[in-house]
Amino acid sequence: MPDFPDRRSEMKTRTILILIALISFGLGVHADETSCEICHSKLKGRLSQPVTQWKNSIHQQNDINCANCHGGDPSAKNMKAAHSRSKGWIGKPGPIQIVKLCGTCHANESFMKKYDPNSRTDQLKNYMTSNHGINIMKKEDGRAATCASCHGAHDVLKAMNPRSHVYPENVVDTCAKCHGDKKLMAQFDISGDEVADYKSSVHATALYKKHDLSAPTCNDCHGNHGAAPPGAASVEKVCGTCHVMNQKLFDESPHKEWDEIGLRGCVECHSNHAIKPPTDAMLSTDKGVCLNCHDSTEPAFKTMEAMYKTLTGLETKLMETREMVNNAAEKGMLMDDAMLKLQDAKTAYIKSRTATHKFSSDYLDHIAKAALVDVTNIQKLAKERLMEVTKRRTSFYWFGGLFFILLILLGLKIRSMEK
């Protein structure tokens, strides 16, 4: 600390210090800012955007900066020196370069472990097996997707960050950038309807309406880095990762050998992208999905008919019961216990619907029996309550009648008194 002789020189020193501070601030000389940032952030549009996007990215947070991918000299003071090829500057990397660049770090286990011990490093390996990877790396076809096509070039974020391009609720739109483009997809013999179909599906409803992040998006069935359509044999296993029970039953069913004749498991009845909430009508004798393969002479038709009857019968009964319970509740009876049992019946009903995947009417009837027992019990309870309502009302008629007569007698009494 210098020793200031008097107030005047102290003021002077202070002014100079403040000036220096102001100038350096104005120039943007900042300890950890590279010259790339300083210059590019002052440029317009396309040339400054990367800086803005990179800020707040996972790379920026971990001090991975421009030069780590683009090369060059981030400490150089002028443009030429900074963009020097001799310092490894590569400009905008091409598709193959991008994949390789990302791979230098992301396929390096010991490097990635420094940032996240659980980090996976198999993305590049998987990518090489995907249709995207084969097109880019083997066929050198730049139309396919690279790492940056999905993750963004500069605004790379962790997958579970809601602003990330690959966050569950965003991933469909990310894929749609290419797969929603019918012209582009036609070049690859892909219909291009998949995204629109998906958006009409029960899975999309779960994802977008209920914000249920466990609902499958594109990558949950197709894989992400190793993206490829699942083969016919693996469809039911893919669906089975979530719909375990259905898969188990299906495997016990006469349909278990479908893949041997080239049929695609679940997809044959439920379709693939546009999966709608299943209805009993899928088993109906006029437009059931079974009719796609079976005709009315086969025993399978009988099974379908029987299963349809059981399910719709159960559903009608359940609705009827719910109505009875609601009716009693509307008439002022507390029906909490019945509602609780109704919950059990609903469980049994949902189980019955799952049970159809064994394609055995006997098995379904066996499962549905539990629901029927529940329903009968609830109906009994609801009837008791409704009887109680009638009893109360009847009592009132007697009560009201008695008092009405008393009222009239009193009137007569008054008249006779005042006559």
């Binding site: 466990s214 029970m245 609780l340 609903k346 469980t347 008092f403």
Partner: protein, 144 residues
């Protein structure tokens, strides 16, 4: 009006008045008679007797108008959850073999903290607080 008619009217009035008084009093007397089944004290629910469960078993109980599940873990402590599966609202059960909670409808599995292990459920089960008082295990909703 002759006195016999008047007497008749008074008689009728008397009889019906008695009837009226009886009609009012009888519900009151019934109301005052203590009920056998006494109500349980509750923001908490008595889910089970302490001797009811052995380690690695569970039982369902009524929590409001919804089912709850009380589990005695293999380690011997009590855990309670809402028994309504977060997938489609089926009632879950305890699987002693797998030592965790299981929903039979679509094979959803939850661990003993209510978190989803596998299957379609999107969210964990709501966990309740358990405590033992006397011979009963009580369950109540978690305070914020």
């Amino acid at each position: 009006m002759d006195s016999s008619r008047r007497k008749f009217l008074n008689g009728l009035l008397g009889i019906f008045s008695l009837g009226g008084v009886a009609a009012v009093l009888s519900p009151l007397v019934h109301y005052l008679t203590p009920v056998k089944k006494q109500e349980t004290a509750v923001s908490s629910v008595a889910a089970a007797k302490t001797n009811e469960l052995t380690p690695n078993t569970a039982k369902l109980f009524k929590f409001g108008s919804k089912p709850g599940i009380l589990i005695m873990t293999p380690g011997g402590d009590y855990r309670a959850f809402s028994a309504v599966c977060t997938h489609l609202g089926c009632t879950v059960q305890y699987s002693s073999a797998e030592r965790h909670i299981w929903c039979a409808c679509h094979n959803g599995h939850y661990d003993l903290n209510g978190n989803v292990i596998s299957g379609p459920p999107p969210r964990p089960l709501e966990e309740y607080v358990c405590f033992v008082k006397g011979q009963e295990v009580y369950v109540k909703r978690r305070e914020a």
